[in-house]
Amino acid sequence: MRAEAEEDRETTPRRRRFAFLVALVLLAGALSWGRSRDAPKVESPIRQIFPQAEIIKVREDVHAVYDEEGGLLGWAGTGRGRGYGGPLTLLVGIDTLGKVAGVEVLENRETPIFWRMVRAPEYFRAIRGESFDSLSWEYADVAGVTGATLSAQAIVQGVQTSVIKVAATAFDTRIPVPPRPFEFGLLEIVVLVLFAMGILGLRLRGPLRRRARWASQVGSLVVLGFWKDSPVTLAKISAFLSGYLPDPRVQMAMYFLVAGFVLTSFLYGRNLYCLYACPFGAAQRIVGVIGGSGLKVSPRWARLLGGVRDVVVFAALFIAFLSARPVLASYEPFAALFSLRGTTLQWLLLFVVLVASLAVRTPWCSFFCPMRSVEVALQDLRNWMKGKGSGGPPGKLVAGRRPSAVEVVAAVSALVVMGLIVGILAQGALYAP
């Protein structure tokens, strides 16, 4: 019996490591396939902008457009902006008088629900007929009163880079662009303070540590949650892994958050983002205090759920890499809570998770959050580098005992949550623009 247990202890980390490596290879394959796909075709969008276009001389970034008699109609330039989910590629047509003839979206990786919020069609209509040298670069024109600032900035940036290229190539004009300063504001300061409190918390004991954690979590809930809606999501991690890095001048806080997440997992073996800076974790903790959250989930169910979560996270990343759209990996219900925006499935997921938080302590963090899988993978890597065993829970069930009624209810609820998560991923993959 003891020999069997000993053998289990040795083989389980080995199996985990093997599964992890296979997953890594598959993800790398999906990523390279997704990234190697052809650049978007420009002929059809150019004909949308210039309906009389017959001959299009496609060059690298600026394409000359002619009618059937060879008369020059104008130029079309492609430009990129950095949005929430990666680069956004636009095509801007400029006629021979130097006026904007139209704008078409070539590549869009933004979250569909946020993309629908920006006033892109209105902006494109508004700048049509404007001379290229009189365009203003105010993203507020696109964003309106919505919360999709990054998408709005990407649209303006895309139009701007296209126009600059056309102006330089076709009109021999250099459009001055004011340098964009690094935005270092309250959000960045708060993120740094939260991690500092986390590091301090590691050195504190007892009630002092609890108070530090509560203070940082409440601060995170208010600032990172309800005010800025900037929690770390799997979409962000996926964007970083895909090489679609956000603009550090605009999203410095996201760099701090991701770097803090990875570095503290490596340096301290504990991920301080989840403990001190995650606003959704804070929301669950507060609901848990209201409800008492005394229900304990047995380790075997926790292990099973952890295993299922790892598979879901793998599937989410695989879809995102394969389609080169990092936002498709996101299944978290954060936006529904913090900006009151989400699909019905995300709302349902939020409802189930927060109501479950009344009875079970931080159920999302413990069993469903993709960041937990990333954290376990990082800890495994850290332990492997240090020559230790697996850091995560072994993916093995102890069989033989009949589950209690509470466990059955918990299992059914978990099944519902997993079903909702799969539904959200499928919906994202099927209905993405």
Binding site: V287, I290, G291, G292, L340, T344, W347, L348, L350, F351, L354, V355, L358
Partner: protein, 109 residues
């Protein structure tokens, strides 16, 4: 769905409101709980919010807006459930205080 946009719906909701208040009052009296005034105030506020949630879902359905009914119902329902559990525990805290008081009186005598 016609009922949700008619006066009947508000009549039923008013009856429900009164039944819950009177029922809770009777339950508190039967158990001999000492419920403070501010807990009652919170309870009445909560009841108003729960009634609003029902009304929101009902009137949205009545106006042919199932998406608003679903999302609003989930959001407000979630807030109502979480705050309801909190208030329930406040009532329970009163019960615990009473038990402790009885215990201390018995041990004193």
């Amino acid at each position: 769905m016609q009922i949700f946009t008619s006066g009947m719906f508000w009549f039923v909701e008013g009856i429900l409101f009164m039944v819950v208040i009177l029922g809770t009052r009777a339950w508190v009296r039967d158990r001999g709980l000492a419920v403070s005034a501010w807990t009652w105030a919170l309870f009445v506020l909560w009841l108003g919010f729960a009634g609003f949630t029902l009304a929101f879902v009902g009137t949205s359905l009545g106006e042919g807006e199932p998406t608003a009914a679903t999302r609003g119902g989930l959001l407000f329902g979630m807030i109502a459930i979480v705050s309801g559990v909190g208030i329930w525990r406040l009532f329970g805290a009163g019960e615990q205080r009473d038990r402790e008081r009885v215990g201390s009186v018995e041990s004193g005598s």
